[in-house]
């Protein structure tokens, strides 16, 4: 599985600031894409690569904070770094609560900006990896039969086969067969492995 080069998206309506940031980021070898407005950004086709978004708080139309909200609602999980001419505390608190990486005030300090961008890209990379693993597990989970899913939900609670058989009104032998099928399909090396997978998938144990 190949992964594209990390890209930094910059949205600032001020062309001068926009190009200066682009220049700075390119000078340290980062891939940069700049946008004059949020609409422009939404219309663009983003590469399948880790990245982060440098967003000016004061934008024409939608404000940066409102745009952050819009992105979250539409399932875009790009880490956001806010830059602002006059950020105040309540504004930054709100942005951070919604998951912003950092809230920087202009004029920007170079090192700080670069560090935060690295942090953002790293966070995105991890998120993307995590998402890939979960997607893989979801594929495996989807290959299970409905009976196997039932058995799985009981297995991860650590119940012995006997109890599972009783609860599902099956023979212990049948439970054992289902269990080995599950381990094979989920490619779990151990019960602990299986429990961690289930946890990642967000499967809750079946109610007794």
């Amino acid at each position: 599985m190949t992964e594209g080069k990390p890209t930094v998206f910059v949205i600032d309506d001020d062309a001068l600031v926009r190009s200066a940031i682009e220049d700075l980021l390119r000078s340290v070898g980062l891939q940069v894409e700049t946008f004059g407005s949020t609409q422009e950004f939404l219309r663009s086709k983003r590469p399948d690569a880790p990245g982060c978004l440098v967003l000016d708080v004061r934008l024409p139309g939608l404000s940066g904070l409102e745009f952050q909200h819009t992105l979250i609602e539409s399932g875009v999980h790009l880490p956001i770094i806010f830059i602002s001419g006059h950020g105040d505390i309540p504004m930054s608190v709100r942005a951070m609560k919604l998951g912003a990486v950092e809230f920087l005030t202009k004029p920007l300090r170079e090192q700080e900006l670069l560090d935060v961008i690295q942090m953002g890209i790293e966070r995105d990379r991890l998120r993307r990896q995590e998402a890939k693993v979960v997607a893989e597990l979801r594929e495996r989970f989807d290959s299970l039969t409905s009976r196997e899913r039932e058995v799985l939900s009981l297995v991860i609670t650590g119940r012995p086969n006997k109890q599972i058989a009783f609860q599902l009104d099956l023979s212990e032998m049948t439970v054992k067969v289902h269990r080995s099928q599950i381990m094979r399909k989920m490619r779990a090396k151990s019960l602990v492995d299986l429990v961690r997978m289930a946890d990642k998938l967000g499967i809750s144990s079946m109610k007794t």
């Binding site: 001068l16 200066a20 220049d23 700075l24 000078s27 830059i83």
Partner: protein, 751 residues
């Protein structure tokens, strides 16, 4: 005695009774005559005999006696006495004495002569006395008629003196006859009419024998007035005396009846209602001005026309029915109907019809009184509407009205007043009821005020609060003026306004204004700085970023010179941009200074004081102003100068909030030496130490907890752009003085 019908009428006697009484008295008188005559003759005989008088002398004295007695009695007695006298003469005085024989025949002749003479004299005397008696009775009868005839008779001489008046006439005027006779007749005439009377008399005197009449007023002894018709006639009596005979008739009743009739006539004429009469044939017989006004027909054109001219065709059938009812003597009480005017317009009317009878009680027609109710209906409607409007207006404006009669203590409230006081409309409003609603804190003041105005009758205008049963508070504004009622008693008529909402709004407004004054100073400054910061930040961000990029491009193993050059170009752009921002701000400031105009600095000071008045009061500060009238006009920006003054005043107020008492703020304006204005703001706050004084006008220097330290810096800039100077000095013993000067700005204004 003759039968006298007049006497019968006057004395109420019948002929028989009168005769009987007459006869009896006659008999008594004859008896008395005979008795007296007998005694007289005896005495005379005795005297004459003793004196030895002769026959002739004695018979003559006998004749005298008989003649005298005949005046007293009738003819019968006289004849008897004459015969006795003849016998006596024969017996005592003819020869031979003491015998009835007569010696000498001449004596017989003498006695016959005596007897004849005596009888003739007696009969003549009797006749005479009878005539005299009849004359006397006749006069008495006429006098009685004169005295008691029910008309006033006066006889006056040409000079107007009353010669005679009848008892009735005198009694009518309240006098006795004697009181009037000899007086001038003018005394009994009403003063204003005396001239008329005199003229009337002179006309009579000029036309002897001709009777003239006039109607004048007479005045009674007790002062009351009566109307009389006077018929007067002058005539020359048989003794050549000129007299005026007057017959007067009391016509007061007729006269008053005439006036009454005239009054009724004028009422009919001036009535707004149509008053019409019609005969039995249905034709109009009278038509007043009101009818003309309502129907449009003149009396001349409509009288004689059938009444149906003013009745709409569909109602013609009503007429016979009405006539039938009238014939029964019924009055038809007011009923609503429709009539037609000359121009065909239909009129709503209320009509009353009454039958008219002649003196003998025969129906001769009907009178109709018609009222145009179109107008009345409209007025009633209008009144009702205006009442509704008033009530609605009172409700909307929260204004109730009231009346207060001070003497009787009577109070009347309008519906809205009840609502304001939250009292049951069925209650009778009283002063006590009102006072129970007044806020306890205001009650004494209200009572005192009412007592004061109830004595002085001044205009009542005051505000007080009400405490409602629910605990809420209302603010009332009461205005009333005094009027005199019909009996000249003091009465107040006025309005009660519920100004709670206004009071509340005012309080809120004051708070908001205070807030605004504080906030405005901070936020305008804050926003300005934020805008400037942002504008400058952008190029600075670009500058820093591009500078860093440039370093990165150069610090690589193989420096990317082209990219570095691009970065430097961006840096130059960014710094140009920063320059542009600065010049733009400067341009903006210059642009704002174009709103300069001639202004009075004192007005500007007052405007600011008005803005912060509640702040001053709220902080218990004593504000004094000493604004000189001869300061010149300033050519400046009103808003900017307001900002400066506001800033200085607010600083002073805030400075004084730290001290406990004696908070005094003085604002002065004077003409300065260079013909400009010097404004001084002096406070009694803690004052300024040397460090503060040195740094006071530096930007971001502040002694306040929440201050930005921009106010004085900006103020100094504003004053400076106006060509003036702003500075501060400590005041002694404490406090601070801020002063600024402003030139008149004539140079700038002309440039």
């Amino acid at each position: 005695m003759k039968f006298d019908p007049l006497r019968q009428a006057v004395l109420g006697e019948t002929p028989g009774r009168a005769m009987k009484r007459d006869w009896r008295s006659k008999a008594w008188r004859s008896a008395a005559q005979l008795l007296l005559g007998g005694i007289g003759l005896a005495l005379l005989t005795f005297v004459c005999f003793r004196l030895g008088l002769n026959l002739a002398t004695t018979s003559f004295s006998f004749l005298i006696l008989i003649a005298l007695l005949s005046l007293m009695g009738g003819l019968f007695g006289s004849v008897v006495l004459s015969i006795i006298a003849v016998g006596t003469l024969n017996f005592f005085f003819t020869q031979p004495l003491f015998s009835l024989r007569m010696e000498y025949p001449q004596d017989i002749l003498a006695l016959i002569a005596f007897l004849t003479t005596s009888v003739i004299v007696s009969s003549l005397t009797a006749k005479l006395s009878k005539v005299a008696e009849e004359l006397r009775q006749g006069e008495a009868q006429w006098r009685e008629v004169f005295e008691h005839n029910p008309a006033m008779y006066f006889i006056i001489d040409p000079g107007g003196t009353v010669l005679s008046v009848n008892a009735f006439g005198a009694a009518q005027l309240g006098y006795t006859v004697n009181e009037l006779v000899g007086q001038t007749v003018l005394n009994v005439f009403f003063e204003e009419d005396r001239e008329v009377v005199q003229k009337h008399f002179s006309v009579c005197l000029a036309n002897l024998g001709q009777s003239n009449s006039c109607e004048v007023r007479k005045i009674r002894k007790n002062g009351t007035v009566l109307w009389v018709r006077e018929n007067a006639k002058a005539l020359r009596r048989s003794d050549k005396q000129l007299n005026v005979l007057i017959v007067c008739e009391d016509i007061t009743e007729h006269y008053e009846a005439g006036i009454e009739l005239a009054r009724l006539g004028s009422i009919v004429a001036s009535s707004e209602d149509a008053i019409i009469s019609k005969g039995l044939d249905g034709r109009i017989t009278s038509w007043n001005a009101g009818a003309t006004r309502i129907f449009g027909y003149q009396a001349t054109e409509i009288i004689g026309q059938p009444i149906t001219r003013i009745i709409p065709p569909e109602l013609h059938a009503e007429e016979p029915e009405i006539l039938t009812r009238l014939r029964r003597g019924e009055r038809i009480e007011s009923y609503e109907t429709v009539r037609v005017a000359k121009d065909g317009r239909r009129i709503d009317m209320a009509v009353t019809v009454s039958p008219m009878f002649d003196k003998s009680g025969n129906l001769v027609g009907a009178s109709k009184v018609g009222r145009d109710t179109t107008e009345r209906q409209r007025r009633i409607e209008e009144l009702r509407r205006s009442e509704a409007y008033l009530a609605e207006a009172q409700r909307i404006s929260h204004t109730g009205s009231f009346g207060w009669n001070v003497a009787t203590g009577e109070i009347a409230w309008s519906e809205e007043t009840f609502r304001i006081f939250e009292c049951d409309g069925a209650l009778k409003p009283t002063m006590d009821l009102m006072l129970t609603r007044v806020h306890p804190d205001d009650r004494a003041r209200v009572r005192q005020f009412l007592e004061h105005v109830s004595v002085n009758g001044e205009v009542l205008d005051f505000e007080h609060r009400l405490l409602m049963p629910g605990g809420s508070i209302k603010h009332l504004h009461v205005v009333a003026h005094a009027v005199k009622d019909a009996s000249d008693k003091l009465e107040f008529v006025g309005a009660v306004m519920d100004i709670t909402a206004i009071r509340r709004a005012e309080e809120e407004l004051n708070q908001v204004r205070a807030e605004l004054a504080r906030v405005a100073r901070v936020t305008t400054l804050g926003e300005l700085t934020a805008a400037i910061a942002h504008e400058v930040n952008q190029p600075l961000t670009g500058l820093a970023s591009s500078g860093n990029a440039c370093l990165h491009w150069l610090s690589g193993e193989t420096p990317n010179l082209q990219a570095a050059r691009n970065s430097v170009e961006r840096m130059i752009n960014a710094s140009n941009r920063a320059g542009e921002v600065i010049s733009r701000i400067r341009a903006m400031v210059q642009k704002s200074s174009t709103s300069r105009d001639w202004l009075k600095i004192n007005d500007t000071i007052f405007e600011v004081i008005a803005l912060i008045r509640s702040e001053i009061q709220g902080n218990s500060i004593l504000l004094r102003t000493e604004l000189s009238n001869d300061v010149p006009l300033i050519y400046g920006d009103r808003i900017q100068l307001q900002q400066v003054i506001l800033n200085l005043l607010m600083n002073a107020i805030e400075a004084m909030s730290a001290i406990g008492e004696h908070r005094e703020l003085l604002v002065r304006s004077v003409k300065d030496d260079s013909n400009g204005v010097l404004v001084e703001v002096r406070d009694s706050g803690p004052g300024l130490d040397q460090t503060t004084l040195d740094r006071l006008f530096e930007a971001f220097y502040t002694t306040k907890t929440h201050g930005m330290g921009m106010g004085l810096a900006i103020s100094r800039t504003i004053i400076a752009t106006h060509g003036g100077r702003l500075w501060a000095t400590p005041d002694s013993p404490r406090g601070a003085i801020f002063r600024f000067t402003l030139p008149t700005g004539e140079d700038e204004a002309s440039s």
